[in-house]
């Protein structure tokens, strides 16, 4: 009952202040706009022309062409497939985008059927065309069997960049989202003396701690999620990789990814709350928090480019999330490592909440001169 009132107050404070809501959600939108603009500037506005070899049956090609035309102003130059080896060589050499082969009885208008697509994920055009085709086939709504032949490892260019950079960006967002609300709410309230007003009441100190950490974590998750979506949705454009690429992960990868992000947020919130409780002012707290943030970023950066982190990394707070996210985006499915990381983060959060409770009861921390 008292705990519920404390949490409600924290949510009320946030959601009834348009300024706070906007500053929390704005970064995501800005990132999306910025990256998208950068992306289209970098990749050029004009439609591309894909050269595609195909043993095409006319109805399919017509249907595909119509679908493709709806999706973009890209054009496709269809070339008859005569020498498959030579065609593949051209794709590999980035001169052609793909090779399409249609199976017996392939009929996109009534039946479905199977189609083989030969492409090279290492080439931007080829990858884009591949996603265009799969998206178009999906749109046609029949059951197709798509056999993919990859001319280089799937973890090519885009993926490898995304893999190492995205987790770093995510941790950065988590920190900035958590910082903006937690510093204000904990260090701010301590500095302004509104926290002591609650301390004179009979409410349990642990409830005061939880009444801060839980709502602040929920709010920070919103912020982190907004920034993450902004990035995830614009990254492909920025790097000229189409969105189909993001669809390349299994549902489980997404579940684990979300769990990792969600488990890192309360941990970071508690960490900043701890620092804030120990500090005398918002200024002091934000200085210390920046140091913590830089530390985490540096270690994450090292872990991104030195891929020799053993399984023991699951025990490292926050960093475990970065490492597992990198593995997930790299196409692996480290189920137990991810789950242990999530568990470890929740455990650390609990420990921090306990410590913060102790600090709230400490007169030297709360009322020291």
């Amino acid at each position: 009952m008292k705990l519920a009132a404390l949490m409600r107050k924290e949510f009320h404070r946030f959601f009834h202040d348009p300024r706070l809501v906007v500053t929390m959600l704005l970064p995501g939108l800005l990132i999306f706009l910025l990256y998208s603009v950068m992306g289209s500037a970098m990749n050029g506005k004009d439609g591309k022309n894909y050269r595609v070899y195909c043993d095409g049956t006319p109805p399919l090609v017509t249907a595909l062409v119509e679908e493709l035309a709806k999706k973009s102003d890209d054009t496709v130059e269809w070339l008859p497939l005569e020498d498959e080896e030579a065609a593949r060589a051209e794709v590999k050499a980035k001169k052609a985008a793909a090779v399409l082969k249609f199976g017996e009885g392939f009929d996109p208008l009534t039946e479905g059927g199977n189609v083989e697509i030969v492409y090279d994920p290492a080439s931007e055009d080829s990858l884009n065309f591949y996603s265009l085709v799969t998206a178009s086939l999906n749109e046609l709504g029949r059951r197709f069997q798509v056999d993919e032949v990859l001319l280089s490892a799937a973890d090519a260019m885009g993926r490898s960049v995304m893999q190492s950079v995205l987790p770093l960006i995510v941790v950065c967002f988590i920190f900035s989202a958590c910082m903006s609300v937690t510093l204000e709410s904990v260090a701010g309230e301590k500095e302004r003396g509104t926290l002591s007003t609650v301390l004179v009441t009979s409410v349990k100190r642990s409830h005061i701690a939880l009444g801060k950490i839980v709502p602040l974590s929920c709010i920070s998750m919103l912020g982190a999620l907004s920034s993450f979506l902004g990035t995830a949705l614009s990254m492909p454009k920025l790097m000229g990789v189409s969105l189909g690429f993001l669809g390349g992960y299994s549902a489980w990868s997404y579940v684990l990814l979300c769990l990792l992000i969600l488990s890192a947020v309360p941990l970071v919130v508690s960490l900043i709350a701890l620092v804030s409780t120990l500090s005398r002012s918002v200024k002091e707290a934000s200085a210390y928090t920046s140091v913590v943030m830089i530390l985490v970023m540096v270690v994450s950066l090292v872990s991104a480019f030195v891929p020799v982190m053993g399984d023991w990394s699951v025990a490292l707070p926050v960093l475990n999330a970065t490492v597992q996210m990198q593995a997930l985006l790299g196409g692996a499915l480290p189920v137990w490592q991810s789950l242990v990381s999530v568990g470890a983060n929740l455990f650390y959060t609990a420990v921090l909440v306990f410590v913060i409770t102790k600090l709230f009861s400490s007169e030297r921390v709360m009322f020291g001169k």
């Binding site: 008292k2 309230e189 007003t197 001169k369």
Partner: protein
């Protein structure tokens, strides 16, 4: 007369930080702020702790309101020990100082409900008390205005009312009129008289003689963390508090610098 607040040999020693030592130009690392303080306040009266700067008034009141723990002695409020039963004490007292602030973002209405919940006051009781107190102290006119937009006088009223949301038996008030203009100070003294009229017991600290003379039924003079004199105004001062205070001070500390 029933004792409602009783302090028994209260003691508090602070460790001085390096910074504090520098500011106060002292080499000592420990400071005894309250040194075996004992006094009693009775139900229904206004008791004033009178003392110069640094006498240990704030420290004493903080110990009584359980914000800090005494390192010697004990105190009892409504029979509950501040050392053994701090939570019981907290629900029976209202504590007010200028260090305790209300969040400017919220309205008096919201804060009243929030602090009611913090003290575990039931919904119906809370609604009834809000109506009664808000109209009695004229807060209903600005009940929905954010606290940060209120004038100092209005804000003071809100702080006063919020501190008694849970109908405490004892109200503890550190330097009630410090830093307030005459109008706002009057709001506070009127409020304290009103509280006394409601049958509350009030314990306040001050260094202002006139405030004691105007308000207090009994007074305790505190010097260097010890009680130097205690009694009704007539008992200890025979009508001239200021003179009495300086006489006692000279007896204890020698000539005034």
């Amino acid at each position: 007369m029933e004792e409602i607040v009783r302090a028994e040999g209260l003691k508090k020693t602070f460790t001085l930080s390096k910074k504090q030592q520098k500011i106060e130009r002292t080499g000592e690392t420990r400071r005894v702020a309250v040194n075996g303080l004992a006094f009693s306040a009775y139900r229904g009266e206004i008791y004033g702790l009178l003392g110069p700067n640094g006498a240990g008034k704030t420290t004493t009141l903080r110990m009584l309101s359980t914000l800090i723990k005494p390192d010697g002695g004990d105190a009892f409020l409504c029979g509950h020990s501040v050392v053994k039963d701090p939570e019981k004490v907290r629900d029976r007292i209202g504590f007010l100082t200028s260090d305790l602030k209300l969040e400017g973002f919220f309205t008096p209405d919201y804060l009243f409900d929030f602090f009611g919940a913090m003290h575990g006051v039931g919904k119906e009781t809370l609604a009834r008390r809000k109506k009664e107190l808000f109209s009695r102290f004229g807060i209903d006119k600005f009940a929905e205005v954010r606290v940060r937009d209120l004038s100092t006088g209005m804000l003071q009223k809100v702080s006063l009312v919020v501190s008694i949301v849970h109908d405490p038996e004892v109200v503890i008030f550190d330097e009630p009129t410090n830093g307030l203009d005459v109008l706002t100070a009057k709001v506070v003294t009127d409020f304290l008289r009103e509280l006394k009229g409601m049958g509350k017991s009030i314990l306040l600290s001050t260094h202002i003689f006139s405030l004691v003379e105007k308000l207090c039924d009994r007074v305790g003079i505190i010097i260097d963390g010890r009680l130097a004199a205690e009694g009704t105004l007539e008992d200890i001062a025979q009508g001239n508090l200021e003179e009495t205070f300086f006489r006692i001070y000279r007896e204890r500390k020698g000539e005034i610098a």
